[in-house]
């Protein structure tokens, strides 16, 4: 299937600025029509990777291929990429239509062709009625749409979004996330988003690449990323979790027994006996009371936060450790603050990660 053939291939790309390694041998393959998010904290290299794909930053080593073409040394204006910048970077001296037409004019397209493309792009983002407006007369959300229309109008091989939604207020941003995903799927665009917002990443993408210190820690579908985080960093960056440090007592075929300050636990993972690990579980796996094939710990409820369909319960398990449970109404009575309770969670949903060396 042609859908499965690699469309954008990043191979061994590294970039250093002075003594800092910003990108550390990045490998990334994206299929045609796929929406991928580069997710990570500021300074993790995600924007630099995006700029390397756009041609605005030259990698020190490695190779970038787009649509079967090696573009490593191709300047940005010949790459056929569309970029939506965080500041939108709209041209203030041009109208909305002028901005959208810019790329086609530069390419020397015929007048009629330009007009048609501008109209199509603006109707796609529902701004056809504002074609003649000046940029300064638009709201933030409208400017965002113009930036998108401008990038789409040239029919790029890949669309790159650099924190493109972060300047919008929360409500508008959430609406745009859903709308943008639908729009990109409609036009069968291949797109890469750069963001530090995990909700945006989970909502918008087919796959998420979690980046940390210039490396991709995990590249997975949102669901897998959440349910099977590959590293402690990925676990922490996406979603909430209970994390308890401990020492491996016994290891057996992908399973370990770990001694912690709040009792002995079993978890998935491959470690040597004696290794320092962190045992973790997602909050929705924790249930009140005992269950079979499960880890459990007891403690006093520290806080109860009602969140509509769910309730977040934080439990002080003693010895400085705490448990985080997300209980739904079906689980029966929701405990109150200061209640003594026992929580348990399945071994199959408990992960062990190597203790991170503090840097």
């Amino acid at each position: 299937m042609s859908e499965a053939t690699p469309h954008l291939v990043v191979r061994g790309v590294s970039k250093r600025y002075g003594p800092t390694t910003v990108l550390d041998h990045i490998d990334l393959t994206i299929r045609r029509g796929e929406l991928v998010t580069l997710l990570g904290p500021s300074g993790c290299g995600k924007t630099t990777l995006l700029r390397a794909i756009a041609g605005l930053a030259q990698p020190d080593t490695g190779k970038v291929e787009l649509a079967g073409r090696n573009i490593t040394n191709v300047p940005p204006h010949k790459r056929n990429v569309g970029v939506v910048f965080q500041s939108y970077a709209l041209f203030p001296h041009l109208t909305v239509a002028g901005n959208v037409a810019f790329g086609l004019k530069v390419r020397g397209a015929a007048r009629r062709e330009i007009d048609a493309a501008v109209e199509r792009a603006l109707s796609l983002v529902k701004l056809g009625h504002l074609a003649g407006r000046r940029i300064s007369a638009l709201s933030g959300g409208q400017q965002q749409r113009v930036a998108l229309a401008r990038a789409i109008a040239v029919e790029p091989d890949v669309l790159l979004f650099d924190e493109a939604l972060s300047a919008l207020d929360r409500k508008l941003r959430e609406e745009m996330q859903v709308e943008l995903r639908r729009l990109l799927q409609d036009v069968k665009a291949t797109a890469i988003f750069v963001t530090h917002d995990q909700d945006e990443a989970l909502t918008m993408s087919d796959r998420v690449a979690v980046m940390n210190k210039g490396r991709i820690e995990q590249l997975a579908e949102p669901r897998e990323l959440y349910l099977r985080p590959a590293s402690l960093f990925a676990l922490n960056f996406v979603g909430l979790s209970t994390r308890i440090p401990g020492t491996v007592l016994a290891a057996d075929n992908g399973k370990v027994d770990v001694e912690t300050k709040v009792g002995r636990m079993s978890a998935l993972g491959n470690f040597q006996t004696g290794a320092s690990v962190i045992v973790a579980a997602r909050p929705e796996q924790l249930r009140l009371g005992e269950q079979g094939e499960a880890n459990s710990a007891a403690g006093r409820v520290r806080s109860v936060v009602f969140q509509g369909s769910r309730t977040l319960v934080e439990v002080d398990a003693g010895a400085g450790e705490s448990l985080l449970a997300e209980l739904s109404g079906r689980d029966g009575a929701i405990p109150r603050v200061h209640d003594e309770i026992r929580l348990s969670w399945p071994v199959a949903e408990t992960f062990a990660f190597p203790m991170e060396v503090q840097t």
């Binding site: 756009a54 041609g55 605005l56 300047p75 940005p76 204006h77 790459r79 990429v81 569309g82 970029v83 910048f85 500041s87 970077a89 709209l90 041209f91 203030p92 001296h93 810019f102 790329g103 530069v106 390419r107 401008r150 990038a151 040239v154």
Partner: protein, 265 residues
């Protein structure tokens, strides 16, 4: 109390404006004087002196020279000053602040000192061609105006715009021409205007570098005053004044005077 303060402010402002404008009005009035000796009240009006301007000794070569020097120095300053301003405003240049100060420093230097220094400097290196020395000297005068205006303009310019243009199919120079130049057009106009005027009416620097055959208009005008002070000079001054006013009005229409004064966006 506040009311009184406002009244005092207005009175002072009007008095100051009158004080500044009165000599200009007197010159304009004098230029229409029917008699060689200017006397108030006027006993009639005549455009006689305007007709005499073109017959002034050496007027046309001096006007041409001043226009040439002003245009060339402005054009070169716009290019060099803008490039320098880019280097300074982008902030990647080590010691950018020092460069900026050095570039703008001739503004704070007395013209006389600058003139003598340039004369001595040019002599020392054997650079004595009058036209060329005048041009170089005027570059020193006009460059600060351009650099200062362009640094201010660029500080507000988002360089991501050029990157956006590049991803849309422009080369780097193409992006500069299609995006940065239009976005900075008001700054260019302001810088060019100030630069042109600063060069056109410069006297203290030019006087040291001019020779008998190469005299700029201001030098020539002072010479006329010494030789034969009649209303022809007033007529010429009035024309220059009118030209400047027209230039300012046109600029105001295009970008707005408040931006030129640098008081607001």
């Amino acid at each position: 109390m506040t009311r009184a303060a406002i009244v005092v402010c207005w009175v002072m402002a009007i008095a100051l404006a009158l004080f500044l404008l009165a000599p200009l009005l007197v010159i304009a009035a004098a230029s229409f004087s029917p008699t060689p000796v200017f006397d108030l009240p006027l006993t009639g009006a005549s455009t006689h002196w305007y007709g005499k301007i073109s017959r002034l000794d050496g007027f046309w070569p001096s006007l041409l020279l001043s226009l040439q020097i002003a245009l060339f120095s402005t054009a070169i300053s716009l290019v060099c000053g803008t490039l320098a301003a880019i280097a300074i405003a982008r902030g990647k240049l080590p010691g950018a602040g020092i460069f900026a100060t050095a570039l703008v420093s001739p503004l704070m230097m007395p013209g006389l000192v600058l003139g003598i220094a340039l004369l001595q400097g040019f002599r020392a290196i054997g650079f004595t061609a009058p036209w060329a020395t005048l041009l170089v000297a005027h570059l020193v005068i006009t460059l600060p105006y351009v650099a200062r205006t362009m640094i201010a303009g660029l500080a507000r310019f988002d360089f991501t715009l050029i990157e956006a243009a590049r991803t849309l199919g422009c080369t780097y120079p193409g992006g500069v021409m299609r995006v940065m130049v239009p976005a900075l057009a008001p700054s260019f106009l302001i810088a060019g205007l100030f630069s042109f005027l600063a060069s056109f009416d410069n006297y203290p620097v030019s006087i040291f570098l001019a020779d008998v055959r190469t005299k700029t208009l201001p030098i020539r005008m002072l010479q006329y005053i010494e030789e034969a002070p009649d209303p022809t000079l007033a007529a010429l001054s009035t024309l220059i004044l009118a030209g400047t006013v027209i230039l300012l009005i046109v600029s105001d229409r295009v970008v707005g005077l408040h931006r030129m004064a640098g008081t607001s966006d």
